[in-house]
Symmetry: C2
Subunit: 335 residues, 2 copies
C-alpha cells in the first residue's frame, strides 16, 4: 500500500480536527477487569460501585466488570468474584443498570465455559461480551463470538499479544474474523511493546480488513514504555473508534491508558473529567498505597524485549524489588 | 502547505526505518540542569560525577551541567552551585573532560551576565552554550548567541513555552533566528501541553524555516501528560535530530523524556542502556525517596490547561498534596 493510499484511509475515517470531535469514539473502561489482575479480582462491592458511579457521571460508554472464568479451571476459593462476574454479583452493584453506561465482561478463549456461564441476553444485565484470544485460538474465539451473538449480545474480539503476531498470520486471522458477526476487533498490545509507528500500521491494517463491513476497530494499550496514552491517541487519529482505558491507569504491571488523560484529550462534551479526578482522590490514591501498578523500569525492560510482564511482576514482589540492574542482566541473558 | 509537501519534507530528513538508524541524532542530557529546578541546584559533586560517568559510558552526546545565572540577580547563598556552573566547579567533576561527551550550560535570556560569566572558549571546558528564551526576549537571546559564537562555542536557541506562542510570532522569530550563527533551535514544550499532532506541526514548521541553512532542530519535552517520550519520538520521526532527555525523567514537576526509554528506542549501537539502569539503581531510586518528580494528576491538570506547573508544584509541597479535586476546581476556576 502506498503512502498516499494510507493517507486516504486515514483521512476518510478521521472526522475530528483541532477543535471538533468524532461522535463515533467510544471509551471502554477496564478498571475492574484489568485492575483485577493485580489483586486476584478481590475488589469489594463498595469500590466497584464507586467506579460504576464515576463512569456514569463521566459519560463513559462501557464498563468491564471482570472475567467470566470457568470455575472448573479456576477455583472460586482462590480468586475474587470479579474473576467470574456472576450475574448476581454484578446486579448487587448496578441493579438493573438504568443508565446509559453499557456493561461488558471478558471471556478468555479456552478458559470460559461459555455455553453455560454466558446467559441469554434477556436474563442478563450485561450488554457486551468481549472475547480475548491469542492468535492460535481464533477458531475457538469465533465460536464464542457466535455463541454470544446468537444469545443477543454485542461482541468484540480482542486479539492479544499482537506484538508477537506475524503479518501472514494476522492476514489469515483478519480474513476469518471479518466473516463473523463480531461488532469490534481490537489491537491489544499486551506487552506494551509497540511504538506509535507500529500502532499506526496495525490500525491501518485492521481498518483495511474491515472496510465494507459493520465492524469497527479498537485499541487496548499497556504502559510499559509510557506509551499507553500516546498509542491510544495515535490509534484514534488513524481511525480506531473503541478506546480502552482505566482510572489512574490501574492494571497489571505497568497498567493501561489512564482514563483521565484520555477524557482530557477527547473533545466530545458528553465526557466529564471531574468525576474521575474525584474518584482518584477518594479511592485510587489510597489504593495505590496498598497495591502497586504503573510505569517503572522493570516493566520498561519487558516491554522493550517484547515479552510478558510476569517476570517483572515477580521481581517487584520478591526480595530485591529495586535491583533493576540484576533484572536487566537476567532478562537480557535469557533473551 | 499541502499534506504531500509535508510528506516530502518528512521523508527527506528521515533516514532511519524499522531496523536502521539516523547517525545525525544527538542526545542532550539535561539531568543536572533540569533536575536542579527541583532542589535549588544543590547536587553534590559525587552525584554529578556519577551522572557524568554514566553518560560517557552510555554514549550520550551532550551533558548539561547547569545554568549560568547572574549572581547579581540570584544569590549564591540561596542556590546550589549548578545554578551558576562556575568553571572551577565543573572542572572539579570532569577535569579537562578527555571524553567524547560534550558539555553545555544553559543561559537564560535577561538572567545571565553573559559578557562576564561566559569565558572565551579557550578558557573553558564547556563546549556548548544553550540560550533559553521566551518569545519576547528573542533579540536579547540572539545577542547572547552571537556573543557565545564569537567566543568560540557551539550554540543552541531554546524557545520556551512554545505552546503559548502564536503562529504569526513564531514566523517572525524563526525569520530572525535563521539569520543568526546558532547551530540548533529547539521546540521547548515547557508546560507539557502539546500532543503529537502539534509536535508534528511545530517540528515541520521549524524544519521548513531552517531549510538551506546549517541549523538543525531539537525537542525538549515535559511529561505532564505522560507524553514526553512519545513526543520526543514523534519529533525525531518528523526530522528533529537533537533530543533532550534526563535520567529516570528527572526534572521539574512531571519531569522530562526518560533517557533510558529513549536509548531503548534508538538503534545506533553507540548508545548503551545498561549504564543508565545501573545509575538509576544506585543513585536515582534512593534520590526519588527524598525529592519528588514525575507524572501525577496535578501536573496533568496544568499541562492540559497549558499553564506553568508552578501551581502544581506548590500544591504538592503544601498541606493537602493529595487533594487533586480541590486543585482541579481551583485551576479550572482561575482559568
Amino acid at each position: 500500500m502506498s503512502q498516499s493510499d494510507n493517507n486516504n484511509i486515514v483521512r476518510k475515517v478521521k472526522g475530528g480536527k483541532w477543535v471538533t470531535f468524532r461522535p463515533d469514539i467510544k471509551i471502554h473502561d477496564c478498571t475492574i477487569r484489568d485492575g483485577g489482575l493485580i489483586n486476584q479480582h478481590c475488589f469489594d462491592d463498595e469500590f466497584v460501585k464507586a467506579v460504576y458511579d464515576t463512569l456514569v457521571a463521566a459519560g463513559v460508554d462501557y464498563m468491564e466488570m471482570g472475567y467470566k472464568a470457568d470455575k472448573k479451571i479456576f477455583s472460586p476459593a482462590e480468586f475474587g468474584k470479579w474473576k467470574f462476574s456472576d450475574e448476581d454479583d454484578i446486579r448487587r452493584v448496578v441493579g438493573d443498570n438504568a443508565t446509559s453506561l453499557k456493561l461488558s465482561v471478558m471471556a478468555d478463549a479456552e478458559r470460559t465455559d461459555y455455553h453455560t456461564d454466558i446467559l441469554p441476553k434477556d436474563h442478563s444485565v450485561i450488554d457486551c461480551i468481549r472475547v480475548a484470544t491469542y492468535i492460535h485460538q481464533i477458531p475457538a474465539a469465533l465460536d464464542m463470538v457466535k455463541d454470544a451473538h446468537d444469545k443477543g449480545y454485542e461482541t468484540t474480539l480482542n486479539l492479544m499479544a499482537i506484538s508477537q503476531v506475524q503479518d501472514r498470520e494476522l492476514t489469515d486471522a483478519l480474513d476469518a474474523i471479518v466473516q463473523s458477526p463480531v461488532n469490534s476487533i481490537y489491537v491489544v498490545d499486551s506487552f506494551g511493546a509497540l511504538y506509535s509507528e507500529q500502532i499506526h500500521y496495525l490500525i491501518l491494517t485492521y481498518l483495511r480488513a474491515v472496510e465494507g463491513t459493520h465492524i469497527d476497530v479498537g485499541i487496548h494499550a499497556h504502559n510499559n514504555q509510557e506509551l499507553a496514552y500516546a498509542n491510544t491517541i495515535e490509534a484514534l487519529i488513524v481511525g480506531a473508534s473503541r478506546l480502552d482505558a482505566t482510572i489512574m491507569g490501574m492494571g497489571r504491571g505497568a497498567g493501561n491508558c489512564p482514563l483521565e488523560l484520555l477524557i482530557g484529550f477527547l473533545k466530545n462534551p458528553k465526557f466529564h473529567q471531574r468525576p474521575v479526578i474525584q474518584c482518584i482522590r477518594d479511592h485510587f490514591v489510597p489504593l495505590r498505597q496498598k497495591i502497586e501498578w504503573g510505569y517503572m523500569i522493570p516493566y520498561m525492560i519487558t516491554g522493550q524485549l517484547n515479552t510478558h510482564p510476569r517476570t517483572a511482576i515477580k521481581m517487584r514482589a520478591g526480595d530485591h524489588p529495586d535491583d533493576y540492574l540484576a533484572f536487566y542482566d537476567q532478562m537480557v541473558e535469557e533473551e
